[in-house]
Symmetry: C2
Subunit: 162 residues, 2 copies
Amino acid sequence: MQFSKSTDYALHALLHLGHSERRHNIGIKELSAALGVSESYLSKIMSKLRQDGIVRAVPGVNGGYELAKPAEQITFLDVIQVIEGRQQMFECSNSNSRQHQQLAEEGAAPQDQECHGKRECLVEKVMGGAEQHLHQYLREHTIQSVMDEASKRCSQNRDKKE
Amino acid sequence: MQFSKSTDYALHALLHLGHSERRHNIGIKELSAALGVSESYLSKIMSKLRQDGIVRAVPGVNGGYELAKPAEQITFLDVIQVIEGRQQMFECSNSNSRQHQQLAEEGAAPQDQECHGKRECLVEKVMGGAEQHLHQYLREHTIQSVMDEASKRCSQNRDKKE
DNA sequence: TTATTATGGATACCACAGGTCCGTATTGAT
DNA sequence: ATCAATACGGACCTGTGGTATCCATAATAA
């Protein structure tokens, strides 16, 4: 239950692109140097981001990457789902087992076989709810919001000194 | 970014123990049959739950497992942390890279080197917040609450039929 | 044409989830 | 005292996926 390093790299790479928004076409060399990650590996990650329309890429001399849309439209959820995939975090692996029928026995008449007729696992339902909460939070945070937070911190520090 | 099958098994096993609360010492045979999981593998999981004080176990004839505390005191978070471990979901792997110093440059005077002095990664901060939200949700759901939900469903179904 | 840069395929390594087997210890029953 | 049932823990196996590298190819600017 951990996010992969690739997600970490992707978020930091996008942050770098957002921070250098005026320039465009940031090369993989600069990116990998800034993050301390190998070019070859980072380029795989950038390719994924490109295929999903998060960044644009141009090959050739002076080529590189830039954000494909405004930084405030790139949410953490977007990035995470591109890298980690869109499968749900939890799947009940034995919903066809005796477990779920047994839960239905109690408090139900014997002929109440369609109790839990949908065969929906209640554990899965709770975990699904957790995932939805998580997604909502991750939708509310964007590349832009992190950059805003960064400059806010800086100005606060300056105020303290004066 | 997925919960392991072990977590799934653990939650369902606890649900089975809670459901059979009047009896005690449910054997691994009954548990594995109910869940459709091998005895050997499930017993590993039960051992973990025992070491963390979630269940009690007695060996010997007529031995088995029972909940070590009331079902309403066993939260999803408890179970997940026992099985998945307590490491955080996200760790910034390059907080000592150029990335974080560069973010501080903008909006700060050159001598403002202690801007971001704590070296705290803002990406990690967002992800940490996400994890806290997730944990709060998982703390609010217990083995008991799932059992309550199950019987509520059943009585609703019965009402519909009458 | 040439140097630069991104792309995608092939490959390798390794940690870990998932799972099995077996010997040991403990307990109740005979 | 013995035996069967049961949980415990270690050793082991296997496949998969994350991490990472290298190279051949395509595209682009100078």
